[in-house]
């Protein structure tokens, strides 16, 4: 059975870009959320194994959402995908429980490479 993935990003185009880039990747996409509050509801419902998480979002940002998710489902592997490309934000996310961190702009290659690393899979294309 494939691992379950939740995509969290306030951009609908970005959500669909991630979905398209992962169409051949062995993950079952169980939902998409546009802010942290929606994401928490979907985590409670689906208990995803993997989450891609934006940071700058309305209603509840990705760092706050990450803290909440770690309290609900600490085994989930959260990878932050954000335009905030300073090191401190990345470190802050890792301290709060994120397992990976990549900066936008994210293309198909950088996304699958980051997921390979997160899930300790054989590197795509090698």
């Amino acid at each position: 059975m494939n691992m379950k993935l939740l995509i969290v990003d306030d951009s609908s185009v970005m959500q669909r870009t991630i979905q398209k880039n992962l169409v051949d990747y062995d993950l079952e996409i169980v939902g998409t959320a546009s802010n942290g509050i929606q994401a928490i509801e979907l985590v409670k419902k689906h208990m995803p194994d993997v989450i891609t998480m934006d940071i700058t979002m309305p209603e509840m940002d990705g760092i706050t959402c990450l803290e909440n998710i770690m309290a609900i489902h600490p085994d989930t592997k959260v990878m932050m995908i954000t335009a905030l490309s300073d090191k401190l934000t990345g470190l802050q996310a890792l301290e709060k429980g994120a397992r990976g961190f990549i900066y936008k702009p994210v293309n198909s290659e950088s996304l699958t490479r980051a997921l390979d690393k997160l899930l300790k899979r054989k590197v795509s294309g090698s």
């Binding site: 398209k20 335009a83 905030l84 300073d86 950088s110």
Partner: protein, 155 residues
């Protein structure tokens, strides 16, 4: 905190690098940056769709990414493979690009360069206001024959 002209131009160079990197990473076609110019923002004609990010923290101001429908349509086609995006998609795309361009600046300026969530608008709203005492730098660019502006305003 006020920004002097030298510091402002240095910050604008970061935006040029950021927008160039966006098109380079996300598409097979680099953008061409044309000669930036200083402009009275009240006289600048915006393109069809504009994403705006507010800047606070150690700098105060805004950054816009403004382009016509055809540029956003082509990007959406490349990213998700649809030919006929609706207006929400076009505005979403404008917001996302402005978010990435502004957010990437934090690699150089750090966490005190605080950005807002994107505000997106079509055309030029009548009530659009610009802060006074701002340096406004317009960075024109061309990507696959589509023209766009990155507009940086810092107090």
């Amino acid at each position: 905190m006020e920004v002097n002209k030298e510091e402002f131009e240095s910050t604008c160079r970061l935006f040029i690098e950021s927008v160039s990197n966006y098109f380079s990473v996300m598409t097979d076609h680099d953008s061409e940056i044309n000669v930036p110019f200083l402009k009275d923002i009240t006289q600048l004609e915006l393109k069809q769709y504009t994403g705006m990010i507010g800047i606070s923290g150690n700098k105060q101001g805004y950054v816009y990414f403004s382009a016509n429908q055809d540029l956003f349509e082509e990007l959406i086609n490349i990213f998700i493979g649809i030919d006929d995006p609706d207006t929400d998609d076009l505005m979403d795309m404008a917001g996302e690009i402005s978010n990435v361009i502004a957010g990437n600046i934090r690699a150089s300026l750090g966490t005190n360069f605080i950005i807002s969530v994107p505000l997106v608008f079509e055309g030029r709203p009548a009530d659009l206001e610009f802060p006074e005492d701002t340096f406004v730098y317009v960075i024109p660019l061309t990507w696959r024959n589509h023209q766009a502006y990155v507009i940086v305003g810092l107090q």
